[in-house]
Protein backbone atom coordinates (compact mmCIF):
# COMPACT_ATOMS: atom_id res chain seq x y z
CA UNK A 1 0.00 0.00 0.00
CA UNK A 2 1.26 3.48 -0.81
CA UNK A 3 1.85 5.71 2.20
CA UNK A 4 -0.47 8.63 2.72
CA UNK A 5 0.54 12.23 3.32
CA UNK A 6 2.76 12.64 6.36
CA UNK A 7 3.18 8.96 7.26
CA UNK A 8 6.52 8.65 9.02
CA UNK A 9 8.18 5.27 9.54
CA UNK A 10 9.62 5.03 13.04
CA UNK A 11 12.89 3.13 13.41
CA UNK A 12 15.24 3.34 16.42
CA UNK A 13 13.21 6.33 17.59
CA UNK A 14 13.94 8.12 14.29
CA UNK A 15 11.07 9.20 12.08
CA UNK A 16 11.86 9.03 8.37
CA UNK A 17 9.48 9.56 5.48
CA UNK A 18 10.53 8.84 1.87
CA UNK A 19 7.88 9.16 -0.82
CA UNK A 20 8.00 9.26 -4.65
CA UNK A 21 4.56 10.35 -5.88
CA UNK A 22 3.70 10.74 -9.57
CA UNK A 23 1.19 13.49 -8.81
CA UNK A 24 1.21 16.96 -7.23
CA UNK A 25 2.83 17.12 -3.79
CA UNK A 26 0.58 17.96 -0.82
CA UNK A 27 3.02 20.52 0.60
CA UNK A 28 0.63 21.80 3.29
CA UNK A 29 -0.23 18.28 4.43
CA UNK A 30 3.41 17.20 4.58
CA UNK A 31 4.43 20.29 6.57
CA UNK A 32 1.45 19.93 8.92
CA UNK A 33 2.49 16.33 9.62
CA UNK A 34 6.12 17.17 10.45
CA UNK A 35 5.09 20.21 12.52
CA UNK A 36 2.62 18.03 14.43
CA UNK A 37 5.53 15.96 15.78
CA UNK A 38 6.14 18.90 18.14
CA UNK A 39 9.92 18.98 17.83
CA UNK A 40 10.16 22.74 18.14
CA UNK A 41 12.24 23.52 15.03
CA UNK A 42 11.31 22.52 11.49
CA UNK A 43 13.23 23.62 8.37
CA UNK A 44 12.17 22.83 4.82
CA UNK A 45 13.17 23.31 1.21
CA UNK A 46 10.80 23.15 -1.75
CA UNK A 47 12.12 22.97 -5.32
CA UNK A 48 9.69 24.05 -8.06
CA UNK A 49 9.72 23.63 -11.84
CA UNK A 50 10.72 26.99 -13.36
CA UNK A 51 9.74 28.51 -16.72
CA UNK A 52 13.42 28.91 -17.66
CA UNK A 53 14.54 30.12 -21.09
CA UNK A 54 17.03 28.08 -23.10
CA UNK A 55 18.22 29.19 -26.56
CA UNK A 56 15.12 31.35 -27.00
CA UNK A 57 12.66 28.63 -25.94
CA UNK A 58 10.68 28.59 -22.70
CA UNK A 59 10.29 25.52 -20.49
CA UNK A 60 6.66 24.39 -20.21
CA UNK A 61 7.17 21.16 -18.25
CA UNK A 62 9.90 18.92 -16.95
CA UNK A 63 10.08 15.15 -16.75
CA UNK A 64 11.75 13.35 -13.84
CA UNK A 65 13.06 9.91 -14.72
CA UNK A 66 14.47 7.75 -11.93
CA UNK A 67 15.82 4.28 -11.14
CA UNK A 68 12.97 2.69 -9.16
CA UNK A 69 15.07 -0.23 -7.86
CA UNK A 70 17.61 2.19 -6.34
CA UNK A 71 15.92 5.52 -5.60
CA UNK A 72 14.13 4.77 -2.32
CA UNK A 73 17.19 3.04 -0.85
CA UNK A 74 19.44 5.96 -1.87
CA UNK A 75 17.08 8.48 -0.23
CA UNK A 76 16.71 6.32 2.89
CA UNK A 77 20.52 6.14 3.18
CA UNK A 78 20.71 9.93 2.79
CA UNK A 79 18.10 10.47 5.52
CA UNK A 80 19.93 8.07 7.85
CA UNK A 81 23.23 9.89 7.25
CA UNK A 82 21.54 13.18 8.25
CA UNK A 83 20.04 11.52 11.34
CA UNK A 84 23.51 10.33 12.42
CA UNK A 85 25.09 13.74 11.82
CA UNK A 86 22.48 16.01 13.49
CA UNK A 87 20.12 15.48 16.46
CA UNK A 88 16.95 15.17 14.38
CA UNK A 89 13.54 13.97 15.48
CA UNK A 90 12.40 13.45 11.90
CA UNK A 91 13.19 14.11 8.30
CA UNK A 92 11.25 13.67 5.11
CA UNK A 93 12.19 13.59 1.44
CA UNK A 94 9.30 13.75 -1.03
CA UNK A 95 10.30 13.74 -4.73
CA UNK A 96 7.79 13.82 -7.57
CA UNK A 97 8.50 11.74 -10.71
CA UNK A 98 7.04 11.74 -14.23
CA UNK A 99 5.81 14.88 -16.04
CA UNK A 100 5.76 18.01 -13.87
CA UNK A 101 4.18 21.22 -15.21
CA UNK A 102 5.96 24.54 -14.63
CA UNK A 103 4.96 26.01 -11.27
CA UNK A 104 4.49 22.65 -9.55
CA UNK A 105 6.78 21.42 -6.78
CA UNK A 106 9.42 18.81 -7.70
CA UNK A 107 10.86 18.10 -4.28
CA UNK A 108 10.19 18.78 -0.61
CA UNK A 109 12.87 18.17 2.01
CA UNK A 110 12.13 18.87 5.68
CA UNK A 111 13.91 18.24 8.96
CA UNK A 112 12.65 18.51 12.53
CA UNK A 113 14.80 18.98 15.62
CA UNK A 114 14.66 20.68 18.99
CA UNK A 115 17.40 23.02 17.70
CA UNK A 116 17.12 25.38 14.73
CA UNK A 117 20.76 24.96 13.65
CA UNK A 118 20.34 21.18 13.31
CA UNK A 119 17.09 21.63 11.36
CA UNK A 120 18.51 24.28 9.01
CA UNK A 121 21.88 22.61 8.37
CA UNK A 122 20.46 19.13 7.86
CA UNK A 123 17.82 20.44 5.46
CA UNK A 124 20.57 22.08 3.39
CA UNK A 125 22.65 18.88 3.54
CA UNK A 126 19.70 16.73 2.40
CA UNK A 127 18.95 18.77 -0.72
CA UNK A 128 22.65 19.27 -1.59
CA UNK A 129 23.35 15.53 -1.41
CA UNK A 130 20.08 14.55 -3.08
CA UNK A 131 21.19 16.52 -6.13
CA UNK A 132 24.37 14.45 -6.53
CA UNK A 133 23.59 11.07 -4.91
CA UNK A 134 20.03 10.11 -5.88
CA UNK A 135 19.31 8.55 -9.30
CA UNK A 136 16.99 11.15 -10.87
CA UNK A 137 17.31 12.72 -14.33
CA UNK A 138 15.54 15.87 -15.44
CA UNK A 139 14.38 16.57 -18.99
CA UNK A 140 13.07 20.00 -20.01
CA UNK A 141 10.23 20.36 -22.55
CA UNK A 142 9.98 23.66 -24.45
CA UNK A 143 7.15 25.66 -26.00
CA UNK A 144 8.32 24.80 -29.56
CA UNK A 145 7.94 21.06 -28.88
CA UNK A 146 11.65 20.31 -28.40
CA UNK A 147 13.18 18.73 -25.31
CA UNK A 148 16.62 18.57 -23.67
CA UNK A 149 18.24 16.59 -20.84
CA UNK A 150 19.44 18.93 -18.10
CA UNK A 151 23.20 18.71 -17.51
CA UNK A 152 24.63 18.27 -14.03
CA UNK A 153 26.20 21.46 -12.62
CA UNK A 154 29.76 21.48 -11.28
CA UNK A 155 28.64 23.91 -8.55
CA UNK A 156 26.16 21.31 -7.25
CA UNK A 157 28.96 18.73 -7.00
CA UNK A 158 31.16 21.23 -5.14
CA UNK A 159 28.37 22.05 -2.66
CA UNK A 160 27.66 18.36 -2.03
CA UNK A 161 31.37 17.60 -1.51
CA UNK A 162 31.77 20.57 0.86
CA UNK A 163 29.73 18.61 3.44
CA UNK A 164 32.62 16.10 3.59
CA UNK A 165 34.94 18.69 5.13
CA UNK A 166 32.48 20.81 7.17
CA UNK A 167 32.60 20.30 10.92
Amino acid sequence: MLPGTGDFSPGDGRMIRIHLPQKALDLAGEMAAINALGSGAVASFTGTARADDHAGQTVTAIELEHYPAMTSAALQALAETAMQRWPLAACCIIHRTGIIPVGDAIVLVAAASSHRVAALESCSFLIDRLKTDAPFWKKEYYDNGSARWVEAKAADTTRAQDWNIRA
Binding site: Y67, M70, K131, A134, P135, K139, A152
Partner: protein, 83 residues
Protein backbone atom coordinates in the same frame (compact mmCIF):
# COMPACT_ATOMS: atom_id res chain seq x y z
CA UNK B 1 23.18 -10.26 -16.41
CA UNK B 2 20.67 -7.44 -16.75
CA UNK B 3 21.79 -4.08 -18.14
CA UNK B 4 19.63 -1.04 -17.38
CA UNK B 5 19.94 2.38 -18.99
CA UNK B 6 18.61 5.80 -18.06
CA UNK B 7 18.13 9.25 -19.56
CA UNK B 8 20.17 9.97 -22.73
CA UNK B 9 21.98 6.62 -22.45
CA UNK B 10 18.58 4.86 -22.69
CA UNK B 11 17.49 7.07 -25.60
CA UNK B 12 20.69 6.48 -27.62
CA UNK B 13 20.60 2.72 -27.10
CA UNK B 14 16.89 2.48 -27.80
CA UNK B 15 15.72 0.37 -24.86
CA UNK B 16 15.63 0.68 -21.10
CA UNK B 17 17.06 -2.75 -20.30
CA UNK B 18 18.40 -5.97 -21.81
CA UNK B 19 19.68 -9.36 -20.71
CA UNK B 20 23.22 -10.22 -21.82
CA UNK B 21 25.68 -13.09 -21.42
CA UNK B 22 29.05 -11.51 -20.86
CA UNK B 23 32.05 -13.25 -22.45
CA UNK B 24 34.80 -14.36 -20.05
CA UNK B 25 37.01 -11.52 -21.33
CA UNK B 26 34.64 -8.95 -19.75
CA UNK B 27 35.63 -8.53 -16.10
CA UNK B 28 35.06 -4.85 -15.30
CA UNK B 29 32.59 -2.10 -16.17
CA UNK B 30 35.21 -0.58 -18.50
CA UNK B 31 35.51 -3.96 -20.30
CA UNK B 32 31.72 -4.07 -20.62
CA UNK B 33 31.57 -0.59 -22.18
CA UNK B 34 34.13 -1.65 -24.79
CA UNK B 35 32.25 -4.88 -25.49
CA UNK B 36 28.91 -3.05 -25.87
CA UNK B 37 30.30 -0.20 -28.01
CA UNK B 38 30.95 -2.49 -30.98
CA UNK B 39 27.30 -3.59 -31.02
CA UNK B 40 26.07 -0.50 -32.83
CA UNK B 41 25.97 3.23 -33.36
CA UNK B 42 23.49 3.78 -30.49
CA UNK B 43 25.93 2.29 -27.97
CA UNK B 44 28.84 4.29 -29.39
CA UNK B 45 26.77 7.51 -29.10
CA UNK B 46 25.68 6.63 -25.55
CA UNK B 47 29.27 5.92 -24.45
CA UNK B 48 30.95 8.68 -26.49
CA UNK B 49 32.15 10.42 -23.32
CA UNK B 50 32.72 7.56 -20.84
CA UNK B 51 34.30 9.87 -18.23
CA UNK B 52 30.87 11.48 -17.83
CA UNK B 53 28.98 8.22 -17.22
CA UNK B 54 27.99 6.83 -13.83
CA UNK B 55 27.40 3.19 -12.91
CA UNK B 56 25.55 1.18 -10.30
CA UNK B 57 26.30 -2.49 -9.65
CA UNK B 58 23.27 -4.16 -8.05
CA UNK B 59 21.97 -0.67 -7.15
CA UNK B 60 25.23 0.48 -5.51
CA UNK B 61 27.31 3.21 -7.15
CA UNK B 62 30.55 1.86 -8.64
CA UNK B 63 33.40 3.08 -10.81
CA UNK B 64 34.65 1.73 -14.14
CA UNK B 65 37.24 -0.52 -12.50
CA UNK B 66 34.55 -2.45 -10.57
CA UNK B 67 34.43 -6.19 -11.24
CA UNK B 68 31.03 -7.23 -12.60
CA UNK B 69 31.54 -10.98 -13.07
CA UNK B 70 29.16 -11.72 -10.14
CA UNK B 71 26.82 -8.78 -10.81
CA UNK B 72 23.10 -9.33 -11.41
CA UNK B 73 22.24 -5.81 -12.62
CA UNK B 74 24.52 -3.13 -14.07
CA UNK B 75 23.00 0.34 -14.52
CA UNK B 76 24.62 2.87 -16.87
CA UNK B 77 23.51 6.49 -16.71
CA UNK B 78 24.59 10.14 -16.99
CA UNK B 79 25.30 12.34 -13.93
CA UNK B 80 22.13 12.72 -11.88
CA UNK B 81 20.06 15.93 -11.98
CA UNK B 82 17.23 15.53 -9.47
CA UNK B 83 15.94 17.98 -6.89
Amino acid sequence: MKLVYFAYVREHIGYDSEEVDLPATVQTIADCLGWLAVRGEGYRAAFADPAKLLFAVDQQMADQTANITCCRELAIFPPVTGG
